[in-house]
Structure formats: structure tokens, C-alpha cells
């Protein structure tokens, strides 16, 4: 069978308007139940808080003042001078006085739609003991709810905290009980792990994933992974040329701890600001070393035991 090219997202947060259409389109397509507790969090306009068993797209909102913006600009510029790959327009080429900061300098409101990273080296996939997770022909990582036994190993195996077990254990359409504020959804019986499938069913039919298709401003782009990474690099160069040195890529480096991600992001500040780990690392990255050390240790112990045994004679 011919292998299609690896697919992925490029989420350009610099043009996100925080409308959350991605969250709704995702839930609608996947028939995920609402999972918020219907209370205002007080965290700007974010009331779904994080990715989870039913929220497979999540939009973060960050309000920042002048100091934070300046710090982001500096740290972004540093990334460039550190030789971040393929980023053109070094800071020195930008005549500073002419580049009026393109946003409101004293304040900004960051919005970013987060999603499963579909890592090159996927911890969740590596640690799954049941074969419930698999890498698809599109290079994405998908959980099979009919195989999953809910052991939760993958939850711990994900360096991004993406995977979660759904409390009610189903992907059925929502129903009347548990809808209104104050009513509780049905008691969970059995939880299976859940996360974004990158719309595996839609990809099979050559359709765009629901979130990318609906995104009004094309902040979420979908396509072949290589072209996504290429346009991400172009975009970050363009923003740097405009003086927005706070722009940087996340997940586009195949030398990082997860071998690069299938979903790449353009961020306007440090990943931590958006609730993303700055240096994600697949939990199985050290397995070979660990095996080697364990092997050495075992050999040592065998030798020691042998010596002890031999001496004891």
C-alpha cells in the first residue's frame, strides 16, 4: 500500500482571533460531550482551561502588559541570534527606529489554539501496553477506544499532558441529563483514554480536519507536514522582518526531545506563557541508555553473584 505523506497542523497564533470555532467544530464532529463545569474561571476568556478527554482543541487567552511584551521581543530575538534554523532577517538587518511595533505596545491579548502534537517520537504510543494506540498511514497517532483498557499509562507517557481518560467512557452524543448548570453528568463506569485523532476518519475520506476547515482566519492550517513546517518558517521570518521578534516556532525542530511534532505552532512568547512545556522530552527517549545501564548493572550483579558464589565454595 502506498504511504501518503505525513500530515499535520500549523497553528499560527499571530492571526488567531480566539473565536473557539475549532473547539466547537471538533466536539461537534467527534460527538464529544461538553466537559466544562459551566462556571466562569476568571482566566480571561478561557473557560475550558486545558486539553482533555473531551476538549481536543483548546484556546488559551493571555493578557500581557508592556514589560511582558518587551521581554518576549528580547527572548525571541535571542532565539534568532542563537541560529534558529531557516529564520531570515537577523535582528541587525532590521532598522529599529523605522519598525513601529505593529501591535498596541502597552498591551496585548494572546490567543492560541492548542491540540495534540502527534509527535514524531510519541510517548503515549510507545508506552501503551495493549496496542490501543497506533501510528496511522498519515503519520498521526490515534487511540482505538475499542482496544483501550483504560490503564492510563499513556496519560503519564505524554510529555504535553494531552491524553486524558474520559470520565463517562463514551463518545456518544450528549443527552438531556447533565446539561444544565448544577446537574451532574452520569457517573463514570469505565474510562478510556481520549485525544485528538487529527480527524483520522476525515483524512481517510480526503477531508480537512474539522478544526482547520472551520477556522475563520486560517490560524489553523492543515497539510503535508513538510510544507506546514516550511510555511511556519516563512511566516516567522516575515514577522521578524516586521519587527515582531517575539515570534518563534514550537515543535518545528526535529532535534528536540520528541523528534519534532506533527502539529507545529507559531508562538509570540515563551511556550510556558501558553501552558506548553518549554523542552518536551519523550519518556522513552532514554530507554536504550537505560537498557544499556540495566544490562551493565545486571551483568555486574551476575558477576558479583558468581564471584560470591565461587568464593563461597
Amino acid at each position: 500500500m502506498e504511504q501518503p505523506p505525513r500530515k499535520g497542523f500549523f497553528t499560527d497564533t499571530s492571526i488567531c482571533i480566539g473565536c473557539k470555532a475549532c473547539e466547537v467544530a471538533c466536539k461537534e464532529w467527534n460527538h464529544n460531550p461538553r466537559d466544562g463545569d459551566l462556571e466562569l474561571t476568571g482566566m480571561s476568556y478561557d473557560n475550558t482551561v486545558s486539553l482533555g478527554a473531551s476538549t481536543w482543541r483548546h484556546v488559551a487567552f493571555v493578557e500581557q502588559g508592556r514589560d511582558a511584551i518587551a521581554a518576549a521581543r528580547t527572548s525571541g530575538r535571542a532565539l534568532v541570534s542563537l541560529g534558529m534554523p531557516s529564520v531570515g532577517a537577523p535582528a541587525s538587518a532590521v532598522p529599529a527606529p523605522d519598525v513601529a511595533p505593529p501591535d498596541t505596545p502597552e498591551f496585548r491579548w494572546l490567543m492560541a489554539s492548542d491540540v495534540c502534537k502527534h509527535c514524531t517520537h510519541a510517548g503515549c504510543l510507545d508506552v501503551c501496553p495493549t496496542g490501543a494506540l497506533f501510528r496511522t498511514e498519515f503519520g498521526t497517532v490515534v487511540i482505538q477506544p475499542d482496544v483501550c483498557n483504560g490503564c492510563g499509562t499513556c496519560v503519564a507517557g505524554c510529555p504535553f499532558g494531552v491524553v486524558e481518560r474520559r470520565s463517562d467512557g463514551t463518545a456518544a452524543p450528549t443527552y438531556r441529563e447533565g446539561h444544565r448548570k448544577g446537574e451532574q453528568p452520569p457517573v463514570p463506569k469505565r474510562g478510556v483514554a481520549q485525544k485528538c485523532t487529527l480527524c483520522y476518519d476525515r483524512l481517510l475520506d480526503d477531508e480537512t480536519p474539522a478544526c482547520a476547515k472551520t477556522c475563520p482566519t486560517t490560524s489553523i492550517k492543515f497539510g503535508d507536514h513538510t510544507s506546514m513546517v516550511a510555511s511556519a518558517r516563512e511566516r516567522v521570518a516575515e514577522l521578524h522582518a516586521q519587527g515582531m521578534t517575539e515570534a518563534r516556532l514550537y515543535g518545528a525542530n526535529e532535534l528536540d526531545g520528541v523528534g519534532g511534532t506533527g502539529s507545529v505552532f507559531l508562538l509570540l512568547d515563551e511556550p510556558e506563557v501558553y501552558g506548553l512545556p518549554p523542552d518536551p522530552r519523550v519518556c522513552t527517549a532514554d530507554l536504550p541508555t537505560m537498557y544499556k545501564r540495566a544490562g551493565v548493572a545486571m551483568a555486574g550483579m551476575v558477576a558479583a553473584a558468581a564471584v560470591a558464589f565461587w568464593k563461597g565454595r
Partner: protein
């Protein structure tokens, strides 16, 4: 589901598919291998327009067994190019919402609860009340004897999410009945 076959034996599949670490094709379940997009299996696709704001985004409505199974953006639309906002994206839930009312409810004067009515009875009751209110509020002339030919007994509010054809019939019927207090969201 297909009958069990020796070829489904996991070790054999790992070898046969070349997925030796068991992280790909070898672990696909029978269900996974049958996954299809529900758009692909729909009986028909109907072109529509989003009912929320006035941008007029195109929608495609996927229908299976006379039930709407999916509503998403219509990429053919030059207005929206297939995109929808969160409200537009929730259209399928709007249509299939279990909270939605599909029964006529009637609250009698002073009653504390709703009761049910069949449609025939309900429209008859409304027609009777319409004519009575029209009669009670009728004005033939103003204080100077100039013609008014209207009723002040009936008012209506609504229409900005209704179709042009519906608004047309509403305005036509109410105007012919002499009812003038007809308003909609456009003023609010």
C-alpha cells in the same frame, strides 16, 4: 464483523504488515479498519446558509436516514469559503439538541404548569383569539374622522432570523387584518 481468521493472529500481523514494533498497522482493530467519515456515508448533502449572524456563511447539511448527521462550512461559498464561527459550527447541535422543544405547550390563565395541545386545536384557538383581539382593538376613524381602519389589539415582534418569504406572509396577513404593531429585531 468478519469471522476470526488465523491471519488476525497478532504476531503474524506484525510480521505480515512489516510493523515489527506493533505501533502501526499491526495493532489496528477490525473497527478501526472500518472507519469511514460520516460525511462520506450520508444519503444526501443539502446546501444551506448559517442561521446566526448576517454574514451569510454557506453550510453543507449532511443527511442520513432523514436525520441531519453533520453541518459544516460550504467551501463553494465566496462569502465564507467553507469556514464557520463557533456558533455556526454548533449548528448540528442546534438542530439535534435534546433540549429543543418539539411539542406545543399551553399555559391556561392562572395555571402554574404547561399542558399539551394538538396542533389543530392550538391554531384554532389562536385564530379565534386573533379575531377577538382584532375586534376589541378596532379603530375606524381618529378623533377628526379621518380613516384609520386598524386594530390596536394585536402586536407582533420578530423576524430577523426568519426567511424573507415568512416575513412577507406575516406582514401581508397582519396588514390585511389591520394590525400595525409589527416589529422585529432590526429596531433592537
Amino acid at each position: 464483523m468478519a469471522a476470526w481468521s488465523p491471519l488476525e493472529w497478532p504476531v503474524l500481523r506484525q510480521v505480515l504488515t512489516g510493523d515489527r514494533t506493533g505501533r502501526g498497522a499491526a495493532v489496528q482493530s477490525a473497527r478501526t479498519r472500518q472507519i469511514e467519515s460520516r460525511n462520506a456515508t450520508a444519503d444526501r448533502v443539502v446546501q444551506s446558509v448559517c442561521p446566526f449572524c448576517a454574514v451569510g456563511c454557506g453550510q453543507k447539511v449532511y443527511v442520513k436516514d432523514d436525520k441531519v448527521v453533520q453541518i459544516e462550512g460550504d467551501p463553494d461559498s465566496p462569502i465564507s469559503r467553507g469556514r464557520l464561527c463557533p456558533k455556526g459550527s454548533s449548528s448540528e447541535q442546534l438542530v439535534n439538541n435534546p433540549l429543543r422543544q418539539t411539542k406545543i405547550r399551553y399555559r391556561a390563565p392562572h395555571a402554574t404548569e404547561w399542558t399539551d395541545l394538538d396542533r389543530d386545536t392550538a391554531i384554532d384557538m389562536i385564530a379565534d383569539r386573533f379575531l377577538a383581539a382584532r375586534r376589541h382593538g378596532w379603530q375606524d376613524h381618529d378623533e377628526h374622522g379621518r380613516p384609520l381602519r386598524r386594530t390596536m389589539g394585536i402586536a407582533s415582534l420578530g423576524g430577523a432570523t426568519l426567511d424573507n418569504e415568512e416575513n412577507y406572509l406575516i406582514k401581508k396577513l397582519f396588514t390585511a387584518a389591520g394590525a400595525i404593531q409589527i416589529e422585529n429585531q432590526a429596531r433592537i
